[in-house]
């Protein structure tokens, strides 16, 4: 069976039931592809066993890049390329460079984080997200289980497990 094509989809109507459901499904040895929620559910990443995000590390590196570029730019411009007397200060003096350095640090950290997040989450232009169930944008939590990733379990087994875990509805969904 092709990976990432055929899914069993559980629909939950309560986040506490969902959190318990996730734990039950995972303890049954089933790999969950993704869970979609209309609002952030506290503790869901722990329940899904997600690894700690490395986004902060990326942010730090982007920020440092901003700091470096800002200092380089200002020292080069005002210290070497086009020295100007401003307020009788030295051509290249650190204090007035700090605000610009701060701003560029923040700017690059923020833009870098957004970019990294978009790339890591595979959100690129003209990529239309797959809808497992449209109600995940309204009032339902939707759990998607890839059949190919759980080859050891039959479709019926997975459906039964979802039902036992508190799903109010269990559907099948296939993508081309």
């Amino acid at each position: 069976m092709d990976a990432d094509k055929h899914f069993v989809v559980g629909v939950f109507n309560d986040e506490d039931v969902l959190l318990d459901g996730i734990r039950k499904v995972r303890s049954g040895g089933v790999k969950i592809q993704e869970v979609y929620s209309p609002f952030p559910v506290h503790g869901i990443d722990d329940a899904l066993g997600y690894k700690k995000s490395r986004l902060p590390i990326a942010a730090f590196l982007f920020g440092m890049t901003g700091t470096g570029l800002a200092l380089l730019m200002q020292f080069w411009m005002l210290g070497y390329d086009w020295p100007m007397i401003i307020g009788g200060k030295n051509f290249a003096s650190l204090p007035p460079f700090i605000p610009v350095t701060f701003e560029l640090t923040v700017l690059l950290a923020a833009l870098g984080m957004v970019g990294t997040f978009l790339i890591v989450s595979d959100m690129k232009p003209y990529k239309w997200p797959r809808q497992f169930d449209i109600r995940s944008t309204q009032d339902m939590h939707v759990m998607a289980i890839d059949l190919a990733a759980n080859a050891g379990k039959s479709k019926e087994e997975l459906k039964r497990l979802l039902n036992e875990s508190g799903a109010v509805e269990v559907n099948e969904k296939s993508f081309e």
């Binding site: 700690k52 307020g87 204090p95 007035p96 700090i98």
Partner: protein, 460 residues
């Protein structure tokens, strides 16, 4: 965790803890006495080094007749002996530093009520206990001010005021200082310039009195809630807190001008109120966090977990940056404008020993280290890193206050040694004693706090 599992806790101020505080006090007293003796022997003769006083004193000497008419102040203008001045300076500096720890204890509690914060309901008793210092600080500040005023506050000298010494305006006053005279109403209104500073003392008493009054009201409601599970106490405290915050917004700034900025009487900075507040605030946050960490270590505070520590860590981290922002804002404005009467403040601090190394150490301890050490999520969630960073911040801001107070009084003769450190330790021992003994007299958290359940489920 359900409501039923909450067990009321009570902090026991053990003999072991008391012994440790006595050791701290003993070390402080030993250093204080040794430092005082050293200062007495190594005293500098500094009477000619006051800013702008050389000219004044020569004038006074050449115009004996004029000086005689203003005689009583002449001797005091030379100031007390070196070691006395140094002693007064460090007493005042340490007092102001610890005033902050007390008043911010109350401020922290008030912020939590006004913001209707749930996460902090398990730890609010710690800042509340720190608030007990307000009353002690009230006494120390008033007494210390009357003891030290001529030595620390240049503006208290009556010879600075009045352009002429006689009614006919023929004899100019040699000690006249136009800038300080212009500021006279701020200290002396409605009395005469150079007399008893009615307005100044009234502010001191009103601020401390109001702070303590608000403190007793909030404490009363918090403790009443323990005996009577009713949300009305929480609602009452929310209103009281809102009123206190309005009052504190004004009084904290004015207190900073009065007790710290007026030492450098000629100088002023419009950011100074914020600056002192930022320093007080982050120091007290570090102190609250440190006490929570030690209570956790001793097995108390079952209601506090890594998520609450994370929030406290974020507070220390964020307000270390906030302090730096204010510090740099004040510095950059003065640096760029380059007006001599403003820049003198920083020149004094950047080019004189020991202020210059304190000046740069200050930035490392209060910005670089907390910023780098508390940056990651794990650092804020673990006791071990908080145990490292909080003392750094507490010591760092002690240096910050040292540099705010000392140069204005001691000029080129400032000392930083056993005397200063010993005084700091004595104050610290007293502060910890007051805080921990009052903490042991009430439950460690309010079991009937309406938001305690929310705090138990706090997750970030």
């Amino acid at each position: 965790m359900g409501h039923s599992t909450i067990v009321e806790e009570k902090f026991v101020f053990t003999q072991a803890a008391k012994t440790k505080i006595f050791w701290l006090l003993g070390a402080g007293v030993l250093m204080f006495v040794a430092g005082l003796l050293l200062a007495q022997q190594g005293g500098h003769d500094n009477h000619a080094e006051g800013h702008g006083h050389v000219a004044t004193e020569q004038l006074v000497a050449s115009a004996d007749a004029v000086a005689a008419s203003d005689g009583h102040d002449d001797g005091e203008h030379h100031g007390s002996a070196y070691w006395v001045k140094r002693l007064y300076t460090t007493l005042w500096m340490n007092n102001i530093y610890f005033v902050g720890l007390g008043i911010i204890g109350l401020f922290f509690v008030a912020i939590q009520y006004a913001a209707q914060a749930g996460w902090s309901s398990g730890i609010k008793r710690i800042p509340l206990a720190m608030g007990n210092w307000i009353l002690v600080a009230f006494g120390i500040t008033v007494v210390l001010w009357f003891v030290t005023n001529h030595d620390i506050f240049h503006w208290t000298h009556s010879s600075l005021y009045g352009e002429y010494v006689d009614e006919a305006k023929t004899q100019p006053n040699p000690g006249y200082d136009a800038i300080i005279d212009g500021k006279a109403p701020y200290f002396f209104w409605p009395g005469t310039s150079g007399g008893f500073p009615i307005f100044f003392i009234a502010r001191m008493i009103i601020f401390f009195g109001m702070w303590y009054w608000f403190f007793t009201l909030i404490r009363k409601n918090m403790l009443a809630e323990d005996l009577d599970a009713d949300t009305k106490y929480w609602f009452k405290n929310r209103s009281i807190s809102a009123w206190f915050l309005v009052f504190f917004a004004v009084s904290s700034s004015v207190a900073a001008w009065d007790w710290v900025m007026s030492i450098d009487t000629h100088w002023f900075s419009t950011m100074f109120g914020w600056y002192v507040f930022a320093s007080w605030w982050v120091t007290a946050l570090a102190m609250i966090t440190l006490i929570v960490v030690f209570l956790k270590d001793a097995g108390y505070l079952k209601v506090v977990n890594a998520n609450h520590l994370h929030d406290l860590g974020k507070f220390v981290f964020a307000f270390s940056i906030f302090w730096t922002y204010i510090w740099f804002g004040q510095f950059l404005l003065i640096y760029y404008a380059n007006i001599p009467e403003e820049t003198v403040y920083f020149i004094e601090r950047m080019s004189t020993s020991p202020y210059s190394w304190v000046f740069y150490t200050n930035l490392i301890l209060n910005f670089v280290l907390p910023f780098l050490l508390l940056m990651t999520r794990d650092a804020k969630r673990h006791l071990s890193m908080l145990k490292v960073v909080c003392p750094i911040v507490i010591v760092g801001h002690w240096f910050d206050f040292y540099n705010m107070v000392t140069p204005g009084v001691m000029q080129h003769n400032g000392g930083l040694g056993l005397l200063e450190i010993g005084t700091g330790l004595i104050f610290m021992a007293a502060f910890l004693w007051i805080t921990l003994s009052s903490l042991s007299k009430m439950p460690l958290f309010g079991k009937n706090h309406p938001l305690l359940e929310e705090s138990l489920h706090h997750h970030i």
